[in-house]
């Protein structure tokens, strides 16, 4: 197969998007439009998946490095030419981009198929798939682009799409606000990313990853102990550290790490398939993808690696503790996503980028499954997301329970399931991490693993096992078999039940199989001598030795490691089962009053004080500024609409400034004169100094 064919991986979803976005113009028949959308929107994504799979199978079996650059457009080469600044519109087909393409199109395609059933009664059916296809395209651009600029285009693109998707049901004000918050917090990260790219350009003289002349950034960094720029000079380590840290800020924003994690829990407001697509399988992993893509840079900076590792561990641990006290089922999953992303960052930080990607893949499977399952639960509870009002759903929703239990055990690291292999690989690397703090990282990772197992089983017990805590009116009463979900959003649930279409069930089964078995397939005891994924990814990932860093000796034998992490996971699961098993009636360990009184619970519920901190800085500060700016009436509404505290601060300053704009010509002329006099005086002072 010709490699040029691989271009289609990227372009097919764009075609789907173009069709969906414009079909309203030339197809007047709504039913026909819907039928065509149903075929085309998931079809293009699955077709992309098939192509990606074919390319992988063909080139993955060959031992050589399979980095190939495919010109994205032959019309204009280079894409942007601008003095010394040249950027090509190339796609890079290498192991990393192929693996990520497979995940994005595979899991994304399954979620598309699921959404066909889920959204089938929604009046904005086509619009939904328009955004979905565009989202997939942007994510693929991020993954496949061969330079930082294309990656940034995709990076911003997924941001815009997530904004549109989170606020999809716009009648709900909270959704729109959550969308805004997500977008705005992401912009903070994007700021770091864009500055990072600018620094790369000014120090390296290029922003391409690979070039046909082997002068791409990653190729320039592919020397032991030193990084070159295009002219052959050596880029100092301090610069590399600065660049890596700036890029890391971008990754922190997109992947919801400390301190920019606040948007992810709120962004769960969107429809369930959206949460599954954005916040489990694709968008939030962009940070990890970026770090792995830049592994050649990161390995040259021990400082940057340390920062990544410790921020990752801190996020993993903190988010896990926060998940312990959540009562909203989707919030638990959101915090668990943040926590798992922390694991992936830790993997990158200890130089084990390929296992970070491994965890991305397995996480995509089980987290998508958990979200889709949770969506089913919520839907059958008529939109109720509070686990305190659930319980005993195992009898009502056996199929949902079955897939959820697989996903739960997988994320908890139950032996031999996917999550077990990927998590253990990360812990193993952490224990051997180069810096001497490996033991600490390992211990932290283990504790987090224990917490993960505990809170996930807590979710299962509160939802499925404990006694029913809802009234009859709260549950769909006429279930057809184990109908999972019934084709509209959770906020639109109206007790009208449809038989669950197969399009919604079989994606779940496929995901369940992958969540259970993929880890073994790609892990150390898999086929073809094991470690398939590691070996496959090797050409795209820089070895630690490139930066002169070397892992420590093993802390313990691999088998001991497996046993320990298995024990930890099982202990967490069992402890949750035991504790909640004794509270079958209330489904809560602490009585509500006791929980409210407990300082620890309060501390965790308040996100470790982060809420208070942000509240102090932005809301209070913004409020103060807003007060000084004399905001009132309609303006206050628009400020609120614009988002949260940051918006309020900016709005306050804006209002203060607006007071200058009096509408009187004389005042305007005065300001002009102030400017003119300052300018003249400034210039004369400048001359005088010479």
């Amino acid at each position: 197969m010709n490699l040029q064919f691989a271009q289609l991986i990227l372009w097919l979803p764009l075609l789907g998007f173009l069709f969906c976005s414009t079909s309203g113009l030339y197809i007047k028949d709504r039913a026909l439009q819907k039928r065509l959308t149903t075929i085309i929107a998931p079809g293009v994504v699955l077709a992309s998946f098939v192509i990606a799979l074919l390319v992988t199978l063909q080139f993955g079996s060959t031992p050589r490095e399979i980095i190939a650059l495919i010109p994205g457009t032959s019309i204009y080469d280079p894409w942007i030419r601008f003095g010394g600044f040249r950027v090509n519109f190339n796609e890079v087909i290498d192991p990393l981009s192929l693996v990520m393409s497979l995940v994005v199109t595979g899991v994304g395609g399954l979620i598309h198929v699921y959404s066909v059933g889920y959204m089938k009664d929604d009046r904005d059916y086509t619009r939904f798939f328009t955004y979905f296809n565009l989202f997939i395209f942007m994510m693929l651009l991020l993954v496949l682009g061969d330079n930082f600029l294309l990656m940034f285009v995709g990076w911003e693109g997924v941001g815009v799409c997530s904004y549109l998707l989170i606020s999809f049901w716009f009648t709900d004000e909270a959704n729109a606000r959550a969308g805004n918050k997500a977008f705005i917090v992401n912009r903070v990260g994007d700021l770091g990313f864009s500055l990072g790219i600018m620094s790369i350009w000014s120090y390296f003289g290029t922003v391409s990853f690979y070039t046909p002349q082997h002068r791409g950034v990653l190729e320039l960094a592919n020397h032991v102990g030193r990084v070159l720029d295009v002219t052959g000079g050596v880029v100092p380590t301090a610069v590399i550290t600065m660049i890596c840290l700036l890029l890391f800020v971008g990754a922190v924003g997109k992947s919801a790490q400390i301190p920019l994690f606040v948007w992810l829990p709120d962004a769960m407001a969107g429809p369930t398939p959206v949460s599954a697509l954005i916040h489990a399988a694709t968008m939030v992993t962009a940070g990890v993808v970026m770090l792995s893509r830049c592994s050649f840079l990161f390995v040259h900076s021990a400082v940057a690696l340390h920062v990544v590792a410790w921020v990752g561990l801190a996020t993993a641990f903190m988010a896990a503790t926060m998940a312990l006290v959540q009562t909203d089922i989707k919030k638990v999953l959101a915090y668990s996503t943040i926590s798992q992303l922390g694991y992936m960052f830790m993997a990158c930080g200890v130089g084990d980028f390929s296992d970070g990607i491994f965890h991305v893949v397995t996480h995509a499977f089980f987290k998508a499954l958990l979200f889709l399952g949770a969506g089913a639960v919520i839907h059958s509870m008529l939109g109720e997301q509070d686990m305190r009002k659930m319980g005993g759903l195992k009898k009502k929703l056996p199929a949902t329970w079955a897939v959820m239990i697989i996903a739960t055990y997988s994320i908890a690291g139950f032996p031999l399931l996917s999550g077990f292999w990927s998590k253990d690989a990360i812990l193993d690397s952490a224990s051997r991490s180069f810096a001497g703090d490996g033991t600490l990282l390992y211990a932290g990772g283990l504790i987090t693993a224990f917490l993960t197992a505990f809170y996930m089983n807590r979710l299962m017990w509160k939802t499925f096992y404990t006694q029913e805590r809802f009234t009859d009116g709260q549950l769909h009463t006429h279930h057809h078999g184990d109908s999972d979900d019934s084709g509209h959003g959770e906020d639109q649930g109206n007790g009208h039940v449809h038989p669950s279409p197969g399009t919604m069930m079989w994606p779940l089964y496929i995901l369940a199989i992958l969540a259970a078995g993929f880890g073994w397939f790609a892990g150390p005891y898999g086929p073809s001598g094991g470690n398939l994924l590691d070996k496959f990814l090797a050409p795209s990932i820089a070895p630690l030795s490139l930066g002169g860093l070397h892992p420590q000796a093993d802390l313990m034998s691999p088998v001991a490691g497996y046993l320990l992490s298995s024990l930890i996971a099982i202990a967490g699961l069992v402890l949750a089962a035991v504790m909640y098993g004794r509270r079958m009636e209330s489904g809560a360990i602490l009585e509500p009053a006791a929980a409210d009184a407990s300082p620890l619970v309060q501390f965790l519920r308040n996100n470790w004080g982060f809420d208070a901190l942000y509240n102090l800085i932005f809301i209070k500060g913004g409020g103060l500024l807003a007060e000084r700016g004399l905001m009132r009436g309609v303006e206050t509404d628009t400020i609120n609409a614009a988002g949260d505290g940051i918006a309020k601060s900016v709005g306050g300053i804006s209002h203060l400034l607006r007071r200058i704009q009096t509408g009187y010509v004389r005042n305007y002329a005065l300001v002009m004169l102030v400017g003119a006099v300052t300018l003249v005086v400034g210039m004369l002072v400048g001359v005088m100094q010479h």
Binding site: L25, T73, I75, Y76, W79, I80, R81, F82, G83, G84, F85, L149, F152, V153, E156, G157, L164, F170, T171, A176, N180, F183, I184, R187, L191, S194, L195, M198, W201, S202, E635, T638, A641, A642, G643, A647, V650, G651, I653, S654, L657, R658, I660, Q661, G663, V665, N667, Y668, V671, M672, G675, A676, L679, V680, G682, M683, L684, G686, V687, H690
Partner: protein, 497 residues
């Protein structure tokens, strides 16, 4: 060059001016012309298209590298590129006006004539190689715009805007003229009177310029800064943009800025020898403009006013290109980036205003946030295209605004203007607030009952404008290389100082 050759070199301007006169004559002398609602508009459009063709066909003529009229005008590729952008903007403005004037019952041929004369002024600003020519062109553009701003004579806001624009504009013109006088004095050398010709001026300036020259330069910058709406000379912009008829605002926001920045780029390119004297001042102005424009835009509830502040902010971005001209290394790229951004800015701003015109009805100008609430349900296409313009203005890919901002970024880094680059990055973050709010309002807010959104009576003209602007914003955002020939030719300005 003889005067005839010179006239030939500025043929586009001549064509536009003659078209304007034909429109005036036709309107006043021909009965059938007056009866037809769109005759003036169509003739104007034809004139603009012919002029555009002339520029396009002569892009490569070597003759055009010379100065016309003994150095009064520079007619090289830089001018050609600016002329093309301006003609594009003018053509789109005529199309917008076709709809707007019909709707408002203002259909008078004088509008088009004045629009064309203003275009002449803007083109001459881009070509002016002598400060006094610049002064006359600025006034040609401004006087025409004062009248256009007050064209809706019964509209109180329009009148107020016209008066404010006129008084403050003349005030700025006073500074500009006095500045020119000081430059004339400051460039005198032994036994020879000074000069305001940019080419000769460059040779006359010593390493440390005289007080008088610097004071003059500062006042000239005030005059041009007013036209470009740079802080703190921007205060007129929001009031005038809001009060002027929407079709005029669109033209004003784009053509004036293109003319002013072309002039600024040209002047500054001639002063690289003394860059360290003016660069700090311009950097401060750039930061101030970016910050003020963006901060003030955040809380606006009137879309026209919001766009006015956003145009102030964009003036700040464009000033980065001007500042980058200080570095000899970065100058070619800076000129290219500036031109590209002017084109991008012209298209997206014109498109945004065109959408507002499209949504205006006979007795109600669409301009508040309330007017566009819930638009996506009623006019999905208009809403989506507006979203494209907003995303482009916000610098979000895959639009022209993104590429333009990126180029500005990279020239800032190339010229080692790190402060400007970082400011640009930070304010771009703030900018997303208010651009997104428009999208948010269109998509996610319910239309309040009392706003009746009857759309335009004769929307063809404005529809074409919206589609052209949106298509170009997107296509050039994805394939910016299309305009490289034009841009790289324009950078030869450097070789023809």
């Amino acid at each position: 060059m003889t005067n005839f050759q010179s006239l030939n070199a500025i043929l586009p301007v001549v064509i536009i001016a003659i078209t304007g006169m034909i429109v005036l004559l036709g309107e006043s002398c021909l009965a059938f012309w007056r009866r037809s609602a769109s005759a003036s508009g169509v003739v104007s459009l034809l004139g603009v298209i012919v002029a555009g063709m002339v520029v396009l066909f002569r892009l490569d003529e070597p003759m055009l590298h010379y100065k016309a009229f003994n150095g009064a005008l520079a007619v090289g590729p830089f001018t050609q590129a600016c002329t093309l952008i301006l003609l594009l903007v003018a053509g789109l403005s005529v199309l917008v006006a076709l709809t707007y004037l019909d709707n408002r019952g203002l259909n008078q041929g004088e509008y088009y004539a004045l629009l064309l004369f203003a275009t002449c002024g803007a083109i001459l600003m881009c070509a002016a190689n002598d400060l006094i020519v610049l002064f006359v062109s600025v006034e040609l553009l401004s006087v025409a715009l004062y009248i256009l701003t007050g064209f809706a004579k019964t509209d109180k806001k329009g009148q107020e805007a016209a008066l404010k624009y006129f008084l403050l504009g003349s005030f700025a013109a006073g500074f500009l003229l006095y500045g020119i006088a000081l430059v004339l004095g400051g460039t005198s050398i032994s036994g020879l009177v000074g000069t305001t010709n940019l080419t000769t001026m460059t040779a006359r300036i010593p390493d440390t310029p005289s007080f008088m020259f610097m004071a003059g330069l500062a006042l000239v910058l005030v005059g041009i800064g007013f036209k470009a709406a740079l802080a703190p000379f921007h205060m007129w912009a929001p009031d005038v943009y809001e009060g002027a008829p929407t079709s005029v605002t669109g033209f004003m926001a784009t053509a004036v800025k293109i003319g002013a920045f072309a002039a600024l780029l040209r002047i500054i390119s001639h002063l690289t020898g003394i860059a360290h004297f003016w660069l700090p001042a311009l950097e401060v102005i750039a930061v101030l403009t970016m910050v003020l424009g963006n901060l003030l835009a955040v809380t606006q509830v009137n879309v026209k006013r919001m766009l006015a502040y956003s145009s102030v902010a964009h003036a700040g971005y464009l000033l980065i290109a001007v500042c980058a001209c200080s570095s000899t290394v970065a100058r070619p790229e800076a000129l290219q980036a500036g031109l590209f951004y002017l084109l991008a800015y012209g298209l997206m701003t014109m498109g945004a205003f065109a959408v507002l015109v499209y949504l205006s009805s006979r007795n109600h100008d669409c301009e508040t946030v309330q007017d566009i609430a819930g638009l996506v349900k009623k006019e999905p296409l208009a809403a989506y295209l507006m979203a494209v313009f907003m995303l482009s203005l916000g610098g979000i890919p895959p639009t022209m605004g993104f590429v333009g901002k990126w180029l500005l970024f990279s020239v800032a880094m190339q010229a080692h203007l790190v402060v400007l680059a970082v400011t640009l990055a930070i304010v771009s973050m703030v900018a997303v607030f208010y651009y997104l709010r428009i999208i948010w309002t269109m998509c996610f807010q319910d239309r309040s009952a009392e706003t009746v959104g009857a759309t335009s009576v004769a929307p063809t003209g404005v529809q074409i404008t919206i589609l052209i602007s949106a298509a170009m914003s997107l296509v050039l955002g994805v394939l910016p290389a299309i305009v490289y020939p034009m841009l790289s030719a324009a950078q030869t300005l450097v070789n023809h100082l």
